[in-house]
């Protein structure tokens, strides 16, 4: 009896062998940098980014005392809210529009999915020209002379809307897939029962989309937190610090000021924020979403 048990244990080593390659990749590219970041966050680094002076949690306490860091957090939260709501709404509306067949649908669905294929930096370059105060097309069309990306009132909204549009492409794809999974016949039955379009949308479409909606929400939030290229090109965190998103501030500290300790500490805080948010969402999901 005992012998048999140990045999079974031996047998079970094999499957783990198959996992080794993937764990090696994860180890080198995810876990090692992950722990290295935590390690760096406890140090101050010299001009070449080498850990030089152990400071314990000093980097963290400095951050929590810095007005600029709280500003970064606030700006990031506003940004994420605009981006997530905007990109999901845009994705949902476009997916609904393309759910029915009509001539030219291929053109429209390509157009709506296209932002997915555009690099954020190139989109930002184009927007930079479009938003230029004296030669940009947006001011020409609106007949205004607003300095879009250099006015603290508009800069964050501009960057956020651009990001929302960029992220809407993939959401369009998810929602389209989700919509085609909903059984057409329930709509027929509902209309026989006298349900109008609005009722159908809230009672049938949205609940039908709930699982995919949840996944999209989680991914969108994480993605929005990590937006970088747009800020780098469009505003460089300015004017003042009104678009200094936390990821951009990490970049600045690490690769411009060569202060890796503080940058690593900010990364760790960002990681914790996103983790807590995701766990909370999964908690809510357990109650709200039915598969």
């Amino acid at each position: 009896m005992k012998k048999e048990k140990s045999n079974i244990k031996k047998m079970r080593i094999e499957p783990y062998m198959f996992l080794i390659p993937s764990f090696l990749v994860f180890g080198v590219f995810l876990f090692f940098p992950f722990f290295k970041t935590i390690y760096l966050s406890l140090y101050k680094t010299n001009k070449m980014g080498q850990a030089k002076l152990f400071v314990g949690l000093d980097n963290y306490t400095t951050l929590f005392k810095s007005a600029s860091f709280y500003n970064s957090l606030l700006v990031t939260l506003i940004f994420v809210a605009i981006v997530v709501i905007g990109s999901m709404a845009l994705g949902l509306v476009t997916a609904m529009l393309c759910n029915k067949t009509f001539p030219g649908i291929r053109f429209f669905s390509t157009a709506f999915a296209l932002p997915m294929a555009i690099a954020s930096s190139s989109a930002a370059m184009i927007f930079k020209i479009m938003l230029h105060p004296s030669v940009g097309i947006i001011n020409k069309l609106l007949g205004t002379s607003i300095n879009w990306v250099h006015d603290p009132k508009y800069a964050l909204v501009c960057v956020a809307l651009l990001t929302a549009w960029l992220n809407s492409g993939i959401n369009f794809l998810y929602f389209s897939a989700g919509l085609s999974n909903i059984d057409e016949t329930i709509y027929e039955r509902a209309s026989v029962d006298g349900a109008n379009g609005v009722q159908q949308f809230f009672r049938l479409t949205l609940p039908g989309l709930a699982p995919i909606m949840f996944y999209t929400l989680v991914v969108n939030i994480i993605q929005a937190f990590q937006s970088f290229g747009q800020v780098k090109i469009l505003t460089e965190g300015g004017p003042g610090e009104s678009t200094n998103l936390i990821v951009y501030s990490i970049y600045r500290d690490a690769f411009f000021n060569y202060r890796f300790g503080s940058a690593a500490a900010q990364s760790v805080i960002l990681f914790i924020i996103i983790m807590v948010l995701t766990l909370v969402m999964f908690r809510i999901e357990r109650k709200g979403v039915k598969y």
Partner: protein
């Protein structure tokens, strides 16, 4: 339930990548250094010991077949002009040296790449670094001071423009060879000035404010001056007042320990005038960076702009004869100021790779780049100063100045300045400039007063200097 756990797994992976996006690169730069630091200091001492013997034999070293790597930060028109010079050197030099030129992106990227590359000791032999990287490079321990190569070869340094050389000279040693130097000047729209009946070109910020009304009401300007929020301009306004940016003789006698622009009033004078211009609508916010004011000027919207001399050619091309472009000295902060302008741009740094042949080859290439002929060509193509005075006698230079008389202003302005206004040296200058720009932006947008802005700048920069000196001494 299964779907849920897959979704959880997926999003966890995404989250971890949030952290590693930064971590991956940090580890790349921090992995190798352990071996580098002692090596760097060794080579430094080795260099001082051996230079007397090895570089003295520059003439005798056989350099044929040597390839040296040159990192530069010149893109666009400037990059093409530089490529022309490099090709010319590669085909014409009698030593058999080949220069492998590599464009590394803008100045910031070049110095940042150098920091990473030097950790692995696989960088370039010669690198172009911007003015504000000077202190960093001197302290880095990676370089061979240009003065060593100059002394070994018996090169006559007086050929170099004294006011340019002054910037790169620390304790009587020329650390790097100036190559592309510029100063800021004021560009103005002559047609608008004529129409407005303004005959006296403003020489200070209050004078600009005084003529602003005429320029907008009679001259047809949308705004009097498009003044980009640029740290370099802030520094120049300090030089024009003849006041220091940092302590220890503007960072030239010893490593700077704190800023001085707050206690000597330089920053407050500048910001008060700047804010007045902004509040009166004379200088609306056109954004951040040195080029941000140029578009409005070229489009005929603003009557004046501040910019580098190196932008002259670009401006003339963009204006394309729509109006006549005039140039004037960079304005002072108030009328009685007696200072001068400092230079900006880049210089060439020889890196210590413990290879005497390459060092000799690098010096030959540097000599070629600053020769009168090369500099005259370089000046005509780009608008940077000829750093060698002898270039003024070249026919290329004379033709160019006849074609663009506006450039004369820049040369006169440089000659009217003096070495004591050479500007500050500061290890954390790139960061300091960012801080200055952020605070000016906040002030112009009405979030802070000039006094608060100065205090914030000084506090932030001092904290950064203190950290740097602590960690890198």
């Amino acid at each position: 339930m299964k779907k849920r756990s897959i979704a959880l797994l997926l999003s966890m992976t995404l989250m971890v990548s949030a952290l590693t996006g930064c971590g991956a690169s940090t580890s790349a730069t921090t992995e190798t250094p352990a071996t580098e630091t002692p090596a760097a200091s060794e080579t430094e001492t080795a260099a001082t010991d051996t230079t007397v013997t090895d570089t003295a034999s520059t003439e005798k070293v056989d350099m044929s077949g040597t390839t040296i790597t040159f990192w530069h930060a010149m893109g666009g028109v400037n990059g093409e002009a530089l490529d022309y010079l490099i090709n010319k050197f590669n085909t014409d030099n009698k030593f058999g040296i080949t220069v492998d030129a590599q464009y590394q992106g803008d100045y910031d990227e070049t110095i940042n790449k150098l920091k990473s590359a030097q950790l692995g000791n696989m960088g370039a032999d010669l690198v172009q670094i911007y003015d504000i990287g000077t202190r960093f490079m001197i302290d880095s321990g990676w370089i061979v001071p240009m003065q060593e190569l100059i002394d070994a070869d018996g090169y006559d340094v007086s050929q170099i423009e004294p006011n340019i050389a002054a910037y790169y000279t620390v304790s009587n040693e020329l650390y790097s060879m100036p190559f592309n130097s510029s100063t800021p000047i004021m560009y103005y729209n002559k047609d608008m000035f004529d129409k407005a009946g303004v005959t006296e070109i403003p020489a200070s910020l209050p004078e600009i404010a005084a003529v602003a009304d005429d320029l907008t009401s009679k001259g047809g300007a949308g705004e009097a001056i498009s003044l980009g929020i640029y740290g370099w301009f802030f520094e120049q306004f300090g030089c024009k007042q003849g006041l220091s940016y940092v302590d220890n003789g503007n960072g030239r006698e010893d490593v700077a320990t704190a800023v001085e622009f707050d206690s000597n009033g330089a920053a407050l004078n500048t910001l008060t005038e700047w804010k007045n211009l902004a509040d009166a609508g004379v200088a609306p916010n056109v954004g951040r960076g040195g080029d941000s004011g140029l578009a409005d000027f070229s489009a005929g919207k603003s009557a004046m702009t501040l910019g580098s001399t190196a932008s002259l050619k670009q401006i003339l091309e963009e204006v394309n004869g729509k109006f006549e472009v005039g140039t004037a000295y960079f304005p002072s902060v108030s009328e009685g100021d007696k200072g001068g302008v400092s230079i900006g741009g880049g210089s060439l740094w020889a890196l210590n790779n413990e290879d005497d042949v390459k060092k000799a080859a690098t010096w030959e290439f540097v000599k070629f780049l600053v020769s009168a002929e090369s500099q005259a060509y370089w000046n005509a193509q780009t608008g940077y100063f000829p750093v060698t005075t002898a270039a003024h006698d070249e026919s290329v230079f004379k033709e160019n100045i006849a074609k663009y008389p506006q450039f004369e202003t820049a040369i006169n302005q440089l000659h009217d300045s003096a070495p004591e206004y050479a500007g500050a040296l500061l290890s954390v200058f790139p960061e300091a400039r960012q801080i200055v720009e952020t605070e000016i932006e906040n002030m112009i947008n009405g979030q802070t007063t000039p006094e608060e802005a100065v205090a914030k700048m000084a506090g932030d920069i001092n904290a950064s200097i203190e950290d740097y000196n602590l960690l890198n001494s």
